[in-house]
């Protein structure tokens, strides 16, 4: 017997179903009852009940791509903050190969890097690597932080949402699995993207979001164009 409906908001400890059901992510089983462990939205698929969290911390997983900030330069590695309870390390051998060079010249404290999680061991040591397409250091741009659980929503089905944002604003947008988003383009467009991302984060649990974001983009960008036209008009008047 299922006691809740799809997409209901539930709280920790709430009983979701009783009887022959599987406890999916965000839930746990107490004897025959399936209970929620989180604040989130119910997702029912056949006999499996899960809860999609509305807020979470990033837990590193092998193969994820993440955006991180260098916090410390050590003798043969960098310490990286990856917006998670576990900090990452980037070994120097990964950057230089065999030869040793000046660490500070490659990456310094405060640099923003796009990396892949190479390995997470039992003691939660997170090894990062730079081998792969598009991985490396970011120059300039803007960092936006969102809750990691909302990353799939920002990307959309097969990248529909993120591609729409890129097309409309002509910005480069890179999303890390850890909830950090790097944006680079015209400064005013960067700000538009930041606003759009914050809206997506706030409304991630509602449906029909892609259409609303499209409207929002059209509206924001429409205004920008209007403004430019107005400015041109004003300049003509002055002349």
């Amino acid at each position: 017997m299922i006691l809740v409906e799809d997409k209901d908001i539930v709280v920790p400890g709430e009983v979701l179903a009783e009887g022959e059901y599987y406890a999916g992510r965000g839930t746990f089983k107490d004897e025959t009852k399936v209970c929620s462990a989180l604040v989130g939205l119910v997702a029912i698929r056949d006999n499996k009940i899960s809860v999609l969290p509305l807020q979470s911390k990033y837990i590193p997983k092998r193969g994820d791509v993440v955006i991180g900030k260098i916090t410390e330069v050590r003798f043969s590695m960098w310490n990286v903050d990856i917006n998670s309870p576990y900090s990452g390390i980037l070994p120097a051998s990964d950057v230089f190969g065999r030869e040793k060079r000046d660490m500070n010249k490659a990456f310094d404290v405060g640099d923003i890097l796009f990396m892949r999680v190479v390995d997470v061991d039992e003691v939660k040591k997170v090894k990062l690597g730079l081998k792969g397409r598009g991985l490396g250091k970011f120059r300039g741009g803007l960092l936006v932080e969102i809750t990691p659980t909302k990353v799939p929503r920002l990307i959309g089905k097969k990248g529909s949402m993120i591609n729409m944002i890129k097309d409309h604003t002509k910005c480069e947008v890179v999303v890390g699995q850890n909830g950090l988003v790097w944006v680079k383009g015209k400064p005013e467009m960067e700000r538009v993207v930041e606003n759009v991302i914050k809206t997506i984060e706030a409304e991630a649990h509602t449906s029909g979001l892609t259409d609303r974001v499209r409207d929002m983009l059209n509206q924001l960008l429409g205004n920008e164009e209007d403004k430019e036209e107005e400015e041109q008009y004003e300049e003509e008047l002055i002349q």
């Binding site: 989180l38 604040v39 509305l54 807020q55 979470s56 911390k57």
Partner: protein, 241 residues
């Protein structure tokens, strides 16, 4: 001499509580989740004249090697009373009482949290009492568990706390400051409402076995009522239903 007769007195004739409440009546309660921007999760709670703010950070990296647990997270609590929270100024900083309450809050919340999901990390809970009027440890635990849920930390249940006790020879629910100080006994209780498991049970004063059982039942009844408000607070944060 002026005597004021109210309807309430006629209804509950054995009510001799100074604020006119019935023996099983709570003080007015208000909970709001997600009030602080910087914290991962937060809650503000008003319970009678108590005003409590709770903030949760984490799970986050834990640097103190001595306390780190390789197989689970560590839940740390800090209960603090503002100097202006009580009638005479409270000397700021931790004292014996707030250290005790910090420890017991952490022990009351820990059984509900899936600590094993975040090994080698820490979850930090901060409880600030802005105004106190009896039952701040219960208010603190109730607020902290809303803040934990708001932070997205997986839990078996939302812990809720309520006190019961005895004043003027009557067993009553949710003692006010006056009843706490002048009364015969105070029994704060924290439970996990789904299973009814007790995570905190203290007693200050003297009760007979029967009275103690009555008080425990009353406290549990109060917890159930408060639990509903906790759930509402979380659901309201996300538009509610």
């Amino acid at each position: 001499m002026i005597t004021i007769i109210t309807n309430r007195d006629l209804e509950a004739k054995n009510s001799e509580r100074p604020d006119g409440r019935a023996y099983n009546e709570l003080r007015p309660l208000k909970i709001e989740a997600g009030v602080l921007e910087r914290a991962d999760g937060s809650a503000y709670l008003e319970f009678g004249d108590n005003k409590v703010l709770a903030a949760v950070y984490g799970p986050r990296e834990f640097h103190i090697r001595r306390f780190l647990k390789p197989n689970m997270a560590v839940l740390r609590c800090r209960y603090n009373m503002a100097p202006f929270s009580v009638e005479d100024r409270k000397r700021p900083g931790p004292d014996r009482r707030s250290l005790e309450i910090s420890k017991l809050t952490s022990e009351a919340l820990s059984p509900a949290v899936f600590l094993e999901k975040f090994p080698r990390s820490s979850i930090d809970v901060f409880i600030e009492v802005l105004q106190a009027e009896g039952g701040t440890r219960c208010a603190g635990i109730t607020a902290a568990s809303v803040a934990l849920a708001d932070a997205g930390i997986p839990m078996r249940d939302m812990v809720v706390a309520c006190a019961a006790g005895k004043a003027n020879g009557q067993v009553i629910m949710d003692l006010s400051e006056w009843e706490d100080k002048e009364g015969e006994a105070d029994v704060p209780v924290a439970i996990m409402p789904r299973t009814g498991e007790i995570t905190l049970l203290q007693m200050d004063g003297q009760l007979t076995k029967d009275e103690f059982e009555q008080a425990l039942d009353l406290a549990k009844e109060g917890c159930m009522k408060i639990s509903e408000e906790q759930k509402k607070a979380i659901k309201n944060r996300y538009g509610g239903d």
